[in-house]
Amino acid sequence: MVTFGASVVDRLSLQLTLVLFLSVVVVTLFTALLTAPQRDEIGEFYLGNRVMSPLRNGLAMCGDYVSAATLLGSTGLVALTGYDGLLYLCGTAVAWMMVLLLIAEPLRNTGKFTLGDTLAIRLSRMQRPVRLALALCTLAITTLYLVAQLVGSVALLTQFTGEPSTATRTLCVIVIGTVVIVYAAIGGMPGATFIQVVKAVMLICGVTVAGVMVLHRFDWNFENLLAAAADNSGQGARFLEPGLRYGASVTSKLDFFSLQLAIVLGLAALPHVMMRLLAPKSVDVLRTSVVWAMGLVSLVCLAAGILGLGATAVLGSDTIADNDRTGNAAVLLLAHELGGAVLTALLSCLAFVTLLAVAAGLTLAAASSLAHDLYGEVIRKGRATQTEELAVARLAAAVIGVLGMLLALVSWGANSATLAFLAFAIAASAILPTLVYSLFWRRFTAQGALLSLGGGLLTSVLLVVFSPVVSSAPASLYPDADFAWFPLQNPGIVSIPAGFLLGWLGSVLSPPEAKETYEDFEVRTLVGVD
């Protein structure tokens, strides 16, 4: 929920932020235009010709993976709820292990442009319906996550100007949305990659510098930091114990577990993250890139934890909660206290660039899924020329961007964290079962894929509709109505097993795929061909 606290920052840092943000946007826009694919080649548009070094790939992966929700939301959660907030950050890092251990290399070995290509090799008999279902799920996830980013930009603006007027709000969403469309539609993967790398470097520098400043303030003594955080939280030792946020009842504990499940399993299956995995040149480059990203993500998560604890220790929970009930202002307030206008400007610019970069990656992933899977393979049945497909991809990026902007303007008061968590839940319950089954289960069939994609999507959406997120609670979308028979805010604990179960059921009830198809596919996942 966007709350209307007083503005966090003074005039100087507002101007600095604006200048810094504009220069980053201008530089990245020019670079996106310069590095944009010159020829009509879909390989260049989707994957950027696979020329990047492992470090740059790792930075881009880290950039795609860490959203503004992690930077502002989770840090704020640590500042307000201590231990429970730290668990979120830990989950974000653990989720990347799924990518490294299970998904990255088999996907790179079998994939081409989209996840649909991998499934088409594995389930060749019914590849068109599967691609269609996959495109729908991808579209649902990316739109939700995109709206979450744009709504987040309004919430961030609130930190600067107080409650924005309708005109300011609209302007903010339209400016951010338009820049995102230009990155994705014109720049393609090279453009999106460049802004991801810029953002990742800024992110790592920003959180490290701020983290070092916090530790320096407490004489590099972790115990001092913990003690000051507990003292200033108004909760005493309870601050460093589990349950401050989710400890009220068994229901809320289950809710928390459900959320962690969706984060750990869903982050790995987000479409823009998987698309990024296809970009490295070879499996060796991919492995080094993913390990780089693992290190960088862990670093960011640890630093964010220190920042959250530091915010409470330095400022006290009351100041943070007064500015913004969700704690989103914690990092910016802390930066102002520690480094004055310059550090505040750096971190707020970083937050805006993070929003932009993640939104660009999402738009590109949605566009490639629509153009390659839906238009190229389902509608044109593989007969579209590269020029046609590319034109559709650019058009799709623009359409998705506009759709995201409209939805964000309609639902600007929605909680961007809730939208993001729903996206994770859909990814974990629809895309992950299909992916894991097709990589590791011989008996998996196209019918199973259709059931688990459709069923996972429907289950998670329906459970959210009938949950306290939509009705019955004071903070829900329709507080006056009450049709919430599902008690948890996060559907993951039911919908993820349901997705796996439906995939199993559909496969067992349908005739098996040809034996050679799986053997061939398995050799491909392990040995690859390049």
Partner: protein, 144 residues
Amino acid sequence: MSRHSMGLGGPPSPYEAGPEPADRSSVSRQPAYQSLRRSHRRFGVRATAVAVGGFLLYVLLSSFAPALMNTSVSGHLTIGLALGLGQFVLMSVIVWRYLVHMRTRVTPVVRGLRGLVRHHETTGRERAAFEARTAPRDEEFRSW
């Protein structure tokens, strides 16, 4: 699929290299491949179970055994917080084991098998070319 043939500056993608399924099925009958497959899968399942299962266990312990997690190790550092930091240590150990596993167990075997696939591809292509040249005679032989 030939429309993509110029698409990538990198190595040829799986689609267009187009080796016959027969080539790969001969790879999948190799004992080296079978043992690679088993050991790789065993490692993947174990490592994922430890990393993800360990974390989920930690979340459950935090929710349902708070007394244990609140035991102080030193000062304000409780067992719960120490285990949280321990997750990061655990992850780095798993990443290290993974890299060692890939370097010593997987990469050498995969390199050999890749050579085998390529060999089959080229011989397959040569055989196909040969058969195309000698198609009529081939039929004679078959009837004979």
